[in-house]
C-alpha cells in the first residue's frame, strides 16, 4: 500500500501538458480522430467538406441521432440495450403529425398553424415516448424479460403502430412553428447566436471557477492556474469558432427577400444575414448538458453507473434497480420523442420510414463514443462525438461520391475498429473510466 495518486502527489509538476489539463485522454483521442476525418475529406473534396454550409448541414444531420445516443448511454451503462428507438421515434413522429394535421385543425377546429398546435404536439409526443419507454422498462425491470427481447419486439411493434396510426401515409406539411426545430427552417440568426456564445462562455468559465473553488474549499489538489486558463481559452475559442462558422453560412438572397416580404418590408440592398445556430442543435446542446448533469451530479446518475458497475452491490446498497430500469427506459423514450420532433420537422412531414435504422446508428454512436456494452462505463459527450464522427464519415463519403453500399461497409468497419481501439486503450491504462 505504497501507492500514490498523481493528483495528490504531483500537482505542481505534471507529467505533461495533457496531464496538467486533467482532460480525459479518450476525449482527446476522439476529437483527434474527428479532426483527421474532417481534414481527409476536406482534401478529397477540394475544400468543400469544411465549408460553413457543410458544417451547418453536418450539425443538423447529427442532432437527431445524437439526442437519442445520450439516452442510449444510460441504457447501455445499466447493461441493457434498446433496439426500438428508431421505431419509437416513428410512433412519436406519427402521433405528433396526427395532432398537427388532424386533431388540432379538424377535430378541435383550430385550423392550420394555430399557435397552440406546436406545444400541444410536442407535449403529447413526449408523453407518448416516455410512456412507451416506461412500459418497456417495466417489462425489463419488473417482469425481468431481457431488454434485447423486449426492444426487439418493440422494434416490430412500434414501427407498425406508426404505420397503423397514419394508414401508411406520408403526413404533411407539419405545423410551421413545429418546423422551427428542423434545422434550416429554424435558426437563431447572427445576433442571437452571438448572444448564445457569450452566455455559453460565461457558463463554462463559471463552471470551471466553481469547480476550482470547491476544491480549494476542501483543500484538495487543484490544477495549476495556467492549466485552468488554457482550458477556459480552448472552450471559449471553440464556442466562438463554432458560432462564427454557422453565422458565415448565409441565407440565400431569395429566401431573405421572402422573409422580409412576410414581415411587410423590403430587403435593403446589400444586406446579408447568416443562419447562425440551428434550434435543433441548440436543443442537442441543452440536452447534452442536462444529461451530463444527470450522469454526474444526481443520485439517479450515480445509481445508473453503480448498477451498471455491479448490480448486486447496487441492490445491497438499497437502490431500487427495477424502478431505475423503468426510469432509464422512460428517459430513452422521452429522448426518442425529442428526436422525432427534430427528424420529422427537418423533412417537414411524417413519413413511414422515418427513423429507419436509427437504432443501429444510435447504438453505434454510443459505442464509438466509449460506452462499454459490459456496462458501467460511458460518457454523454463521447456518444455525441460518436454520432458526429459517423455522420461525418457518411456525409464525407457521399460528397466524395462513394456509393451507399460502400459507405455502409466503411461505417461498419469503423464501428468494430473503434471498439477494438477502445479495448486496447483500456488495457493499457488499466481499466480507467
Amino acid at each position: 500500500m505504497t501507492d500514490t495518486s498523481p493528483a495528490a502527489s504531483a500537482p505542481a509538476k505534471p507529467r505533461n501538458f495533457f496531464a496538467a489539463l486533467e482532460v480525459d485522454t479518450r476525449l482527446i483521442g476522439m476529437i483527434g480522430a474527428f479532426v483527421i476525418i474532417c481534414l481527409i475529406f476536406n482534401f478529397l473534396t477540394d475544400g468543400r467538406f469544411m465549408t460553413p454550409r457543410n458544417i451547418f448541414n453536418l450539425t443538423i444531420q447529427t442532432a437527431s441521432v445524437a439526442i437519442m445516443a445520450t439516452g442510449m448511454v444510460f441504457v447501455i451503462v445499466t447493461r441493457h440495450i434498446d433496439l426500438s428507438v428508431g421505431a419509437l421515434l416513428a410512433t412519436c413522429s406519427a402521433v405528433m403529425a396526427m395532432i398537427q394535421t388532424l386533431v388540432m385543425p379538424d377535430w378541435l377546429g383550430l385550423g392550420l398553424d394555430h399557435p397552440a398546435t406546436m406545444p400541444v404536439a410536442i407535449i403529447v409526443g413526449m408523453a407518448t415516448g416516455a410512456a412507451i419507454g416506461a412500459f418497456q422498462g417495466w417489462l425489463v425491470g419488473y417482469l425481468t424479460i431481457p431488454a434485447f427481447i423486449v426492444t426487439l419486439g418493440g422494434y416490430l411493434v412500434w414501427r407498425n403502430v406508426a404505420w397503423h396510426l397514419t394508414s401508411g401515409q406520408t403526413i404533411g406539411p407539419l405545423d410551421s412553428n413545429f418546423q422551427l426545430f428542423g434545422g434550416i427552417n429554424g435558426t437563431l440568426g447572427e445576433s442571437w447566436s452571438w448572444i448564445f456564445a457569450v452566455f455559453a462562455i460565461i457558463g463554462s468559465v463559471y463552471a470551471l471557477w466553481q469547480s476550482r473553488r470547491t476544491k480549494v474549499k476542501h483543500e484538495f489538489p487543484v490544477k495549476p492556474i495556467w492549466a485552468e486558463m488554457v482550458l477556459g481559452a480552448i472552450i471559449a475559442v471553440t464556442i466562438v469558432g463554432f458560432v462564427a462558422i454557422l453565422n458565415t453560412y448565409e441565407i440565400p438572397v431569395r429566401r431573405l427577400q421572402r422573409i422580409y416580404e412576410a414581415r411587410g418590408e423590403v430587403l435593403p440592398e446589400g444586406v446579408t444575414q447568416g443562419y447562425g445556430l440551428p434550434i435543433s442543435v441548440l436543443l442537442l446542446i441543452v440536452i447534452a448538458i442536462a444529461m451530463t448533469i444527470i450522469a454526474r451530479r444526481t443520485r439517479l446518475g450515480r445509481y445508473i453507473f453503480a448498477t451498471g458497475g455491479n448490480p448486486e452491490a447496487a441492490v445491497l446498497a438499497g437502490i431500487n434497480t427495477r424502478l431505475l430500469t423503468v426510469k432509464v427506459f422512460a428517459l430513452m423514450g422521452l429522448l426518442c420523442a425529442i428526436s422525432a420532433i427534430v427528424a420529422s420537422s427537418r423533412q417537414t412531414f411524417h413519413s413511414n420510414d422515418i427513423g429507419t435504422l436509427d437504432e443501429l446508428r444510435v447504438i453505434a454512436a454510443a459505442v464509438i463514443g466509449g460506452t462499454a456494452l459490459s456496462g458501467g462505463m460511458g460518457t454523454i459527450y463521447g456518444a455525441i462525438l460518436g454520432a458526429l464522427i459517423m455522420q461525418s464519415l457518411q456525409s464525407g463519403m457521399a460528397m466524395v461520391g462513394v456509393d451507399a453500399p460502400y459507405q455502409n461497409m466503411v461505417v461498419g468497419s469503423v464501428l468494430v475498429v473503434a471498439v477494438l481501439i477502445d479495448i486496447i486503450y483500456r488495457r493499457r491504462t488499466g481499466d480507467k473510466v
Partner: protein
Amino acid sequence: MTAPLVELRDMQKSFGGIKAVDHVTIDLHPGEVVGVLGHNGAGKSVLMKMLSGALQRDAGEIWINGEQAAISNPRDARNYQIETIYQYLALADNLDAASNLFLGRELITRMGFVNDALMEAETRKIMKRLNPNFRRFHTPVAGLSGGQRQSVAIARAVYFNARILIMDEPTAALGVQETRMVAELIEQLKSEGIGIFLIDHDIHQVKMLCDRANVLRTGQLVGTVKVDEVSEDDMLGMIIAGKCPPQGVPGPGALA
C-alpha cells in the same frame, strides 16, 4: 443480564424444496464478535442476509435491543444501524472510493445535486483513521488492491455508525499484512461496543477473533460454543460431523 444486541429467533428460509436455514436461533451482544461457521451451503450467508435485509425470511423474528425489528430490505437494516461487509459483492468497481462509501446515502447539496467534494472530504477523513496509506481517491475501486477495497467497505460501515456489523469472510481475498490490518480493525470496533457477526472458513482466525461461534450444518444450528473453551478440532467436528462438544450449547442440528 441485559437484552442482547441482536437475537435471531427461529429463522427459516427455503429455496424451492431446500431448507437453506432451518429453525436457527442465535444472538449477539454489544462488543462481542460471534462467528458463524459452516461448510459452503450450510446456510450462514443466507442467515446473515436475512438480517441485512438482502433476503426476506420465510419465518422467524429479529429482535434488536429487546424489541422486535421489521427488516425486509437493505434500507430497513440500515435504519437499525446494521451494516454488512461483503467480500465480493459490495463495491461498484467503476466508481471511486467516495462514491462507493456513500452509495445509496449520497450527501446532497442545497440544490439537490450529489456533493462529491464533501463526500470526498469525508472519505479522506475516515480513511486517514482506518488506512492512512490510502491515497487513491480518484481511481475506480477496480484499480485498488484487495486490502484497499476492503478498507473502503469497512469505512462504509464505520462512517455510518454501525452498531451491528456483519462481515462475510472479510479476509478471504487478502494477504497476510492486510489480514492483520482487518483483524486490528475488528478489535478496535469491538472495543467501541459494536457487535460483529463474522462469517469465516478459517478456524484459526475464528479462534483468534471471536468470542463465541455458531456452527451451521445443512441449514440447522449444530450448536454454540465459547471459542476459549473448545479446541479447533472440536469446532471442525461440529462443522464436519455435526457433533456438539459437551462445553457448548447444542442446537437442533446437533447429532448424538
